[in-house]
């Protein structure tokens, strides 16, 4: 019944309950149907790239923590990989395993939040988020045990890790990994077959395969569209080639697929963690003794990893001094929101919210 109504603009954000931070969507509506969406970002632009030019290579690591603060250790890893590539530093064996363990823990932590917040956007009053957060707290506990902070860890260093894990860490991690599959099963019981959830997510916000590649999407968003692309498999960094795991993909590319890819990725992460616990050398140094004010040679290096949200890259240009000449951060979230407009047009406001939630962005990374 297309009664002629005047289209009107609605500002979602920058402070809105479900924009996951300070994101602003200028939505043009016809009734409740979306005619146009324009994402406006920059409300958290902190100039990290500029600040990194004035700090030494080690001092940039705390800054990278604040990019994707949901899974902050993965940022450290990407940056360290880039600098290690630039300086040609070899990382000790035990440190490599610890990196794998922590980046998989971070992936779990990120997906806990992503799925929980996504369901929160669907309107389930915080309960799925809270169950997820309980598990996330366990990971946070493990990280706090290791490095004393709950969120921004500043744990990895160029050439390894800042310190070894304490003795209590491994038993606790083993218990966590053993409990995890049961929890994921429970969670699937909670939401996977829920008819309302299916009705809200299936077929909503489809990102076709070609468009996903064209916009440079990565991570679960790309894989949900049916592209089997995981840097851990396709361009293995660190020691990911030693582990046996699968890359889950979706087939349609709707919100449900993105949710479901994340759920399955969590199981794979648990698998990797199990293998890593089995293989990690019991003793050994964790840090290739890199001086605090070291000078990598002039040149450029690109290090990228499969962060929980996608392809996180660091492009580091060195000029031979103690500070990097230029650090460029390539955030996955920024690419993933490019197609938000195409995904949302024709849907309703409520759908826009869950489409945005299913992309799982973090604004610290988009705005830098």
């Amino acid at each position: 019944m297309p009664i002629k109504t005047e289209p009107f603009y609605l500002n979602l954000g920058p402070q809105h309950p479900s924009t996951h931070g300070v994101f602003r969507l200028r939505v043009q509506l016809d009734g409740e149907v979306i005619v146009d969406v324009e994402p406006i970002i920059g409300y958290l632009h902190r100039g990290i790239e500029k600040l990194a030019e004035t700090r030494t290579y080690t001092q940039v690591i705390p800054l990278t923590d604040r990019l994707d603060y949901v899974a902050s250790m993965t940022n450290n890893l990407a940056y360290c990989l880039a600098v290690e590539k630039l300086a040609g530093i070899k990382v000790p064996e035990r440190a490599e395993y610890l990196r794998i363990i922590f980046s998989e823990l971070m992936r779990l932590a990120n997906h806990f939040l992503a799925i929980g917040a996504f369901l929160n956007d669907c309107g389930a009053l915080a309960t799925p988020l809270i169950y997820m957060w309980r598990e996330r707290e366990k990971i946070v506990d493990l990280c706090e045990m290791t490095c004393g902070q709950r969120l921004l860890f500043n744990y990895m260093r160029v050439g390894g890790m800042s310190q070894d894990v304490p003795v209590e860490f491994m038993p606790a991690l083993k218990k966590f990994v053993a409990e995890m599959p049961k929890f994921i099963g429970e969670y699937e019981q909670l939401i996977k077959q829920n008819e309302i959830f299916l009705a809200r997510t299936k077929g909503v916000g489809i990102l076709p395969r070609e468009m996903a590649i064209d916009i440079g999407a990565s991570g679960p968003v790309l894989r949900a569209s049916g592209v089997n692309w995981d840097i851990r498999k396709k361009d293995p960094y660190s020691i990911y080639d030693r582990f046996d795991f699968e890359v889950p993909t979706g087939d349609v590319g709707d919100c449900y697929d993105r949710f479901w890819v994340r759920m399955r990725e969590m199981r794979q992460s648990v698998r990797i963690l199990e293998q890593a616990i089995g293989q990690i050398p019991a003793k050994g140094t964790v840090w290739a003794d890199v001086p605090q004010f070291f000078r990598p040679p002039a040149g450029e290096a690109y290090g990228h990893i499969e962060a929980p949200k996608g392809n996180l890259g660091f492009y580091v240009v060195g000029d031979g001094s103690i500070a990097p000449y230029r650090v460029h951060i390539f955030p996955p979230s920024l690419m993933n929101v490019t197609a938000l407009r195409d995904m949302a047009i024709g849907w309703k406001v409520a759908d826009l919210i869950i489409i945005f939630g299913s992309i799982d962005v973090v604004l610290g990374e988009i705005d830098r």
Partner: protein, 201 residues
Amino acid sequence: MEIVRPEVNTPQEADAVEGAYINSLIADSTSAIPDPDRWIDEAVHRNVFLTTTDTILAWGRQRSIFPMLFATACCGMEVISMSVSRFDLSRFGMDVVRFSPRQADVMIIAGTITWKMALATRMIYDQMAEPKWVVAMGACAISGGTFRESYSVTPGVNRIMPVDVYIPGCPPKPEAVIFGINRLHAKIIKGTMDDPMLSKP
């Protein structure tokens, strides 16, 4: 700062207007607004109540603060940690999280406030109904933190609005935030800072 919204027709005009406001906000806020130490005292003088009424009122206010979660960045995660099951802010009657500034009492500024965001922050603060409080959580909100030198970050949220409680940390632990909120409770109910119970080392 008075914000008058001129009529704008296109998104581009709206952006230009917003940019102009941001620039004038930067020009206006060069020095810190003094901390509202005596705020409660003044309020008491303004409306003369009987002491008991006043106590009951303060009790009501202190027991049911509706927070406005202004989670912009990293600290927002710890705000969530604090409100969900492990630390459960709702024990203090703060579970009714209002996203509309009209209904909120305390604005927990969790995260970096950039100049672009500062305008919105200030507007939301102006929209809140009296009595209202502001909690600056984390280094970024207190002073700009590690991004203080940056060209786009507000060096401390007390440049744009008065702050009642500062919670240092990057990010502060959930307990630290709850401690800060308890101090806010004390501020509300005592109306003074010279309380020996609060002079904790």
